[in-house]
Amino acid sequence: MFGQIITMGRFVVLEAWRTRLPWITAIAFVLVLGLSLFAKALAVTESDRVQIAFLASLMRLAAVFITSLHIVSTLAREFNDRVVDLTLALELPRTSYILGKFVGYAFVAIAIAAAAGLLLMPFTQGHGLLVWTSTLVLELWIVVALSLFCIITFNQVMPAASFVLAFYLLARSIGAIQLISASPLLADRSLAHGFATLLLNALAYVLPALDRFTETAWLVDGGAGAASLGNAVGQTLAYVPLLISAALFDFHRKNV
């Protein structure tokens, strides 16, 4: 089974290479670099800080967008072209198929995050960059697992990609939304407000706290420590298995 997973993963990496994903990523990152240099030129002070903030934030968004769209579109094509049917007709368990896909896409995510880290290297170095790049890998792994789950559940690119995007935005802002709901200015203590707060708190329990990953402050102000990385590792270890098991559940029920 382990060999099957590795083989599956190898084909995923090969597919990413041959579908020009490296070029698309490189072009996106170079565009983001250009935009960050433009922002730097506009800044009247702290120009280096402005550039790093723009470069890091936009590269993270680009990395998440490219990774999720790549997974959703390639798997949708496999479903539509009946490649999945053909693959499963071989002696390949469904679990190996999903785990192999995850392993392959996880390697692709490492390559994308490493490219982002390398592009940041001329502008910021040290411990902060290492933690930032490492947590970007972990963040992308969560996105990989989420994209796998979504495309298996929804089958089509549009709903799957929309769900991934909405989920990602919510996971990155749920902490702030919880703060808003707990604000004393808004706390009118009505039943509706209490219900909304309860719902938000419940939602926060099932969402990964992505706002604690890849913080720009680590690059510009320092302060990234083992605790930051440990927190991200813990969150990833808790959430990726959840998404993968949900994807396996749906895939095993699928009539392929």
């Binding site: 009247v44 990155r172 702030a176």
Partner: protein
């Protein structure tokens, strides 16, 4: 019969004529439509109030530094709207301060909002607006004196030489001195209030403060001690001459 091109695409000649005609017509329609549209007119937009802090926090998607810079660059470029250049003095300063406050709340480490306030927006030829901006610098200095002292020192100099308001300059300089416990504030900034008092004719008060500073042992640099002694001497002479002239 048309020849297949490559392994995927067919020749454009297989496209039905109706489609080609339709495409040409729609292109012509688009060009015609654009041609009859009125030319864009530059309309100045007023600066809106910033969104609530909590909403900005949520919008930052966990990356407040990035959003802080986006807000600042937007504010900085607001005077240059398409086709129109709005002088800074025509901006609503209460809203400008609101945006600067919001940006600083998102990224308290940044010096950018205070630099914009002290060296850009406070330079307009409109005294109430200058005062509003200096007041913003003073207010935000109190939140983090160690990191923001230089902007209050700048505000004090502006109040002294641009607004010619010695009382205001002294107020700011006194605030710098009151936070003198913080070693990151250099002695020249902490001593500003003494020289301002001397400028205001408060020789006695300045002398006492200067004497206290020298006796207190906070000043260690021999050059600085010599300079302060020289100033103390000058103050004593000035005081003597004013007493003699009164006699």
């Amino acid at each position: 019969m048309t020849r297949a091109r490559g392994n995927q695409e067919r020749s454009w000649q297989v496209v039905p004529k109706a489609v080609l005609i339709g495409m040409a017509l729609s292109l012509a329609l688009q060009i015609g439509w654009h041609a009859v549209q009125p030319a864009p007119v530059a309309v100045a937009r007023d600066l809106s109030a910033p969104p609530p802090r909590m909403a900005l926090r949520a919008l930052s998607l966990g990356d407040p530094i990035f959003l802080s810079y986006v807000l600042l660059l937007r504010l900085q470029a607001f005077d240059n709207q398409p086709g129109i250049s709005i002088p800074f003095k025509d901006l609503d300063y209460s809203k400008v301060i609101g945006w600067l406050d919001a940006s600083l709340d998102l990224d308290p480490v940044s010096q950018y909002p205070l630099l914009l306030a002290a060296t850009v927006y406070a330079q307009v030829p409109d005294e109430p607006k200058q005062r509003a901006m200096l007041d913003f610098v003073f207010r935000r200095f109190l939140d983090d004196p160690a990191r923001r002292w230089q902007w209050l020192a700048h505000a004090s100099v502006m109040a002294r030489h641009r607004l010619h308001d010695l009382q205001l300059a002294l107020r700011y300089a006194q605030a710098l001195a009151d936070h003198a416990a913080d070693a990151s504030i250099p002695s020249w900034a902490r001593q500003m209030h003494i020289f301002l008092r001397a400028d205001m004719g408060e020789h006695e008060a300045a002398k006492i403060l200067l004497g206290g500073l020298l006796a207190g042992g906070t000043v260690q640099d021999p050059h600085e001690i010599a300079f302060l002694m020289q100033r103390l001497d000058a103050l004593e002479k000035a005081e003597k001459s004013s007493i003699e002239s009164k006699k």
